[in-house]
């Protein structure tokens, strides 16, 4: 008895004499390290070349260094200002000093450009005064006000004070069509400037519509693929896989060729006499073009998961339901359809996620009524009025939306269920 108690208390030892529990623990840890070591190169690569750049972009969307950096003394002097009246002499003195440095370093234009975003015309006010200020001496206030009446505009000073903070929500407000009004309160922008919320909604509903069309088109052909004998199914599958493997640009150019006014379909309709030569249909460079081309491009992403699920459903289930007296539709709806839901969910979320981020196809065939939010992000990254920070803010909002859908997808379906080909 005693001896047995003794042995049960003594730890079980591994071959090298260490307690088994500890040895197991150690070997498990080593095993984990080995597994992690295999993943580590890719993980660190992605952290540096993908995650960090995205975080940097998010940081840029709130980082606001222009006023603080290029008009530092003015920014400091304005902290004392009560905002009730045109600022006192020290503020103007600071502005004059900043301007002299800014002219010397040729950076004053960057501050001017920043203010001009808030008040059209402020660029000229700043630049014109800055070129003169070198010849002035204290006191400056009168000279500024004489040089340009806009220096008496309180809004200008309020903006300077507000935007002298290093972090700003300004670009996020713009991205949802809000702004600071002249009183410094957050308010909707005038209707004529509102564009982004509308485009977010358009992107969402058009993506949902495209997803739904994909469901409607994919369901029957997936069913057919799943129920045909293997040989025929494999042949039919090529009709799905070939578009899937064909370049996106090739497919988009195909739709341009088909749909444009001098394109194949219009020529055909004119030749047959359905429409007159002057009644050619406008099927591209608008919403229709985007929807048709994107449905075509994304359809395989719906068919493949649906097909792989349907393939696993034994046809005997439907027969059983019918032989038990269910109406064919009822049998399908109650027995077959629920079994396809996982594939349907995977396909829907995949198509939706891909659709809301689309850029190339809407840019080429969307005209102006068929573009997506991605196109406005790109637009804000290019052109002479590029607003990289607004682009970053819009991109961040889109990113968050996509990540939420991705997270839901991961919860519901699991990313490792994604299959191709």
């Amino acid at each position: 008895m005693a001896s047995s108690r003794k042995t049960s208390r003594a730890p079980i030892l591994a071959a090298d004499g260490t307690p088994l529990k500890q040895a197991l623990h150690r070997s498990q840890r080593a095993e984990r390290r080995r597994a992690f070591a295999l993943v580590a190169p890719l993980l660190f690569f992605l952290l540096i070349v993908f995650v960090v750049p995205i975080l940097a972009m998010i940081w840029r969307s709130v980082y606001n260094p222009e006023i603080r950096g290029y008009l530092p003394q003015t920014a400091a002097a304005l902290q004392e200002w009560d905002g009730e009246d045109v600022p006192p002499e020290p503020v103007f003195q600071a502005m004059a000093a900043d301007m002299i440095v800014g002219i010397e370093n040729r950076t004053i234009g960057r501050a001017a450009a920043r203010i001009n975003r808030e008040i059209p015309g402020a660029r000229s006010t700043v630049m014109r005064t800055a070129r003169k200020v070198d010849g002035w001496s204290a006191p400056y206030r009168e000279k500024f006000l004489d040089a340009d009446g806009d220096w008496a505009n309180l809004e200008l000073w309020h903006i300077l004070k507000r935007e002298s903070r290093l972090l700003t929500p300004t670009y996020y407000l713009l991205a949802v069509d809000y702004e600071y009004n002249s009183k410094g309160e957050i308010a909707p922008r005038p209707e004529i400037y509102q564009v982004y919320t509308g485009l977010f909604f358009r992107t969402a509903w058009m993506s949902i519509l495209i997803t739904l069309i994909c469901v409607v088109l994919a369901y029957p052909i997936s069913y057919m693929l799943a129920t045909q004998p293997t040989r025929i199914a494999n042949l039919l599958l090529i009709l799905v896989l070939l578009p899937f493997w064909t370049s996106l640009l090739v497919r988009t150019s195909a739709w341009i060729v088909l749909l444009q006014q001098q394109g194949v379909i219009n020529e055909l309709l004119v030749a047959v006499g359905v429409i007159g030569d002057d009644g050619r249909l406008r099927m591209i460079y608008n919403r229709t073009g985007t929807i048709v081309a994107m449905t075509h491009i994304l359809l395989p992403f719906m068919v493949l998961p649906l097909y792989s699920v349907m393939k696993t459903i034994p046809p005997s289930y439907l027969r059983a339901a019918k032989s038990l007296g269910a109406h064919p539709f009822r049998a399908w709806w109650r027995v077959y359809f629920p079994l396809t839901v996982p594939g349907l969910a995977a396909g829907c979320i995949l198509v939706f996620i891909l659709a809301i981020g689309y850029y190339i196809t809407p840019a080429l065939v969307g005209g102006d009524s068929g573009i997506f939010i991605s196109n406005l992000i790109a637009q804000n990254m290019q052109g002479s009025s590029a607003q990289l920070k607004l682009a970053a803010a819009l991109a961040t909002i889109l990113l968050v939306a996509v990540l939420i859908v991705y997270w839901v997808f991961n919860k519901l379906v699991g990313v490792d269920r994604l299959k191709f080909g």
Binding site: E31, R32, R34, A35, F36, A37, L38, V39, P41, L42, F45, L46, V49, F50, I54, L217, P220, M224, T227, T230, A233, L236, L239, L241, L242, P243, W245, T246, S247, L248, L249, V250, S253, A254, W255, V257, L258, Q260, G263, V264, H296, L299, P328, I356, G357, Y359, L364, I377, A378, M381, L388, A391, A395, L398, L399, V402, Y406, V415, L418, G421
Partner: protein
């Protein structure tokens, strides 16, 4: 799906209607891709079938657009650039992705769910966002307008496909095979090359093909990042489609369709071989 002899008339109508509908959908999928091939041989600079083409008059067809393509140094250098970028990024992506998939497949892998989600994320994040982020980042690192910068960004895009396909091919993997091999006296290296690799290879190859096609087809990132020396064919096609669509683009497009047919057949061959190897029935 053959119609049973006892089918009611309604079922019959439904059956044929269903087949017609499916036929139309398949037509919708494949017709646009097929239609551009003959148009690339159009003798006229139009994007539609001329009367000569429809009557199969040899005068209506010509190789002038292919000739244009192959004699243009701009197009040829951009095609070369595309292949440099795609091949290089595929090699790196395949190496990194395969290793990671092997790690993810180990039962001891910590935080598997989270890490998988991170590794797959480049496929999920919209390209324009990736482009916006990488553009600034690489510019700062002095890598914009260089081949290494573009290649690295395409490695990012390609790895999720490799991870997914290799993981999928490992999922059906039977651990006992390794033990069997080892108990028969093979060492670890030998086991890897003789047992694991042959089973892994189909996943690796299809992952690599995915990464290759993704890179070859990518236009958003390179549009921001490529300088004149790196301009790949997609950027040239993209601006061509926006400005003046010339049938030369259709010639290149039909070559790309041929390439995708080739890739598809390769993949199909691998799949069949794989199924035979594993003794699984197709389907």
């Amino acid at each position: 799906m053959a119609l049973p002899s006892y089918a009611t008339p309604v079922e019959r109508i439904w059956h044929y209607a269903f087949n017609v509908i499916c036929g139309l959908i398949f037509f919708f999928l494949i017709a646009p891709i097929i239609v551009i091939i003959p148009l690339a041989f159009n003798a006229e600079p139009y994007f539609t079938f001329t009367r000569e083409m429809l009557t199969f008059d040899p005068q209506g067809y010509s190789l002038r657009w292919f000739d244009n393509l192959f004699s243009s140094s701009e197009w040829m250098s951009s095609i070369r650039n595309s292949f440099i970028i795609s091949i290089a990024s595929t090699i790196v992506a395949t190496a990194l992705g395969t290793l990671a998939a092997l790690g993810l497949n180990r039962p001891s892998m910590p935080a598997r769910g989270l890490i998988t989600a991170v590794l797959i994320s480049p496929m999920i994040v919209p390209l324009i966002i990736t482009a916006a982020a990488l553009f600034s980042f690489f510019a700062r690192a002095g890598l914009s307008q260089t081949f290494p910068g573009i290649i690295l960004s395409h490695v990012v895009l390609g790895t999720p496909f490799v991870v997914l396909t290799v993981t999928a091919s490992l999922a059906g993997f039977n651990e006992t095979l390794i033990r069997a091999s080892q108990s028969l006296g093979a060492n670890q290296t030998r086991t890897f090359f003789k047992v694991i690799l042959p089973l892994l290879l189909p996943g690796v190859i299809s992952g690599a093909l995915f990464a290759f096609v993704t890179s070859l087809d990518e236009v958003v990132i390179v549009n921001f990042m490529a300088g004149p020396e790196q301009t790949p064919m997609t950027v040239r096609m993209f601006s061509g489609l926006r400005e003046e669509i010339s049938p030369t683009i259709l010639a290149l497009a039909s070559l790309l369709v041929a390439l995708s047919i080739l890739l598809l057949s390769t993949l199909e061959m691998i799949r069949r071989r794989n199924e035979r190897l594993r003794g699984m029935s197709p389907g």
